[in-house]
Symmetry: C2
Subunit: 328 residues, 2 copies
């Protein structure tokens, strides 16, 4: 399945080469060369195939969606001062903050160029722009859910100190699910699918995306040996994590105060992070979050009932299983 | 003339309101409320009128071009850690770096939406995207012309230590003239002008933009009481300044070494900056740069010969005079 996503690589590299200055190219290529599972690209491709479209027609929209993802990752690493991504130094470590910013801005233009040659160009463009607006607003909310660590007037004055699970869902809907939705949707558009098919694919992508982010949150706090920095969200003061929000409901008032005090500590030590982690893992939060994710996954698959039975439709189900089990 | 540019303000504010989160809006509006001369918007409008188009048709492309300009300013202030812009605190001071970045990214999406309703949409989109790619690459070159002040691997390894005037022209062509060119060009497209008219307007915008940037550079080093921080380019280690590059030719080897040593000092004190400034102002650099700018301005006006004589064509000439004399 990852092999499918990789089919966009030559389109991306060609688009980056075309018209860029030679001295800029290696920085432009770096985030793509550093790895990535291309699962959003795979989602576009399989969605297109399952709507009866041709592989060839899905590749450009798939490349554009993958580029939106990388655009947001490079910007995220700037915002979070991220040092490691995909097991390698981030672009900002490799090249510097200014260059990173210029690379991300350049991605935004290149993806526009790629979209110009897609089927149903104007629909696809609209879907892409709406997804990017959502990602930006979702990132803003994610930052507002942070409880310390940044001396920034806007964030400090608008901080959300006690987010509800529903506010959390709004945030991950924008930050994460919107791009999964867009991926499945442009797959349907690339196949020139009818409105009902495109709508079903959108619903499939949206629900898969919610399930994905909830599992991502669970793994951040409860996962061991996933190659991720452990409890990164706690170290980064983030309250916008499903496992944390569910666990808070199970804690005693005293535990809750202890946990939130750790999250609000300017520099969270390894010991404190492990203590906060324990306060989460000793609740049933992990199991409950897995159930929530599974429910979204079932929702996702129900949207596929509207699609014609085919091996591609089964691939789509498989893809969502892999995405959520994080085996892709 | 500024009044003309202000006609885009309601389009910009409406577009920012539409679909954005209420809690985000005041940050989105701030850079526009903080002022700005809207001269690029005025250039679109007058170009459209002089090509026989209607005011109404020019306003959306003008709003989009003005938004590209503000997109690049907010990003520039992030890169240069700028604290004052248009006599007021920059958005990054007012709201913080993360919010600033998200605002700029949001501008990029909003301007796409504005362009969707423009005449000759696909031409206008192409012109806008090419201008943005140029601006990004121009900013990259401008950073490579800096001689100190950033510990960034890419910039340190690729630094251009001895830029030629021709390399400088390439840099300002991308960084500045490309958007002036795009402004005049989309004005012509909005008027549904024939290819020759659009080409002439593009030439007019391009040459006006080069003249503008050269004068901007001169004012930075030689201007007094312009409200700008004096000799900002020297403090920021920038060798990509017309007055500096011309002055270097007139300096003795010893003066040149002294000047470059100041530019390469990690923290340039006020005293050092004034000394470096004197090394420039005691050469004929200012007069020579003014001559170069005037020559580009003449070039610009020659491109207008292909346009029908009208009061709008005369407005365009006047506009370019105002732009370059910095009275707009």
């Amino acid at each position: 399945m990852t092999g499918l996503g990789r089919k966009v690589d030559h389109i991306i590299l060609e688009a980056l080469k075309k018209g860029s200055s030679p001295g800029f190219l290696s920085s432009l290529k770096y985030p793509f060369m550093a790895g990535g599972k291309r699962m959003r690209a795979a989602l576009v491709i399989v969605s297109c195939l399952s709507a009866g479209g041709r592989l060839q027609d899905s590749l450009r929209p798939a490349a554009a969606i993958e580029m939106i993802h990388n655009y947001s990752l490079v910007m995220d690493d700037l915002i979070d001062r991220g040092r490691v991504r995909r097991g390698k130094p981030t672009l900002r470590v490799k090249a510097g903050d200014s260059t990173s910013l210029l690379v991300a801005m350049y991605y935004r233009e290149v993806l526009d160029e790629i979209l110009q040659m897609s089927a149903r160009r104007s629909n696809v463009r609209r879907i892409a722009v709406e997804a990017m607006m959502d990602i930006i607003d979702g990132e803003r909310l994610d930052l507002l859910f942070e409880q310390a660590g940044r001396e920034e007037p806007y964030l400090e004055s608008k901080r959300i100190k006690n987010p509800s699970f529903s506010q959390y869902l709004t945030m991950i809907g924008k930050k994460t699910a919107s791009l999964f939705k867009a991926a499945a949707e442009v797959g349907g558009e690339a196949a020139r699918g009818n409105p009902a098919i495109v709508r079903n694919l959108a619903g499939f992508g949206w629900n898969s995306g919610l399930a994905f982010q909830i599992m991502d949150d669970v793994l951040d706090i409860c996962g061991i040996g996933t190659g991720k920095e452990e409890a990164k969200d706690i170290v980064e003061h983030k309250l916008g994590n499903a496992a944390i929000l569910v666990a808070l409901r199970y804690m005693t008032p005293r535990q809750r105060t202890e946990f939130l005090n750790i999250l609000r500590t300017e520099r969270v030590s390894r010991v404190l992070a492990q203590r906060a982690r324990l306060l989460v893992t000793q609740t049933p939060a992990e199991a409950e979050c897995r159930e929530i994710a599974k429910a979204y996954l079932r929702n996702a698959k129900e949207h596929l009932a509207g699609l014609r039975e085919s091996k591609h439709r089964r691939s789509l189900e498989l893809l969502s299983d892999l995405i959520v089990s994080r085996k892709l």
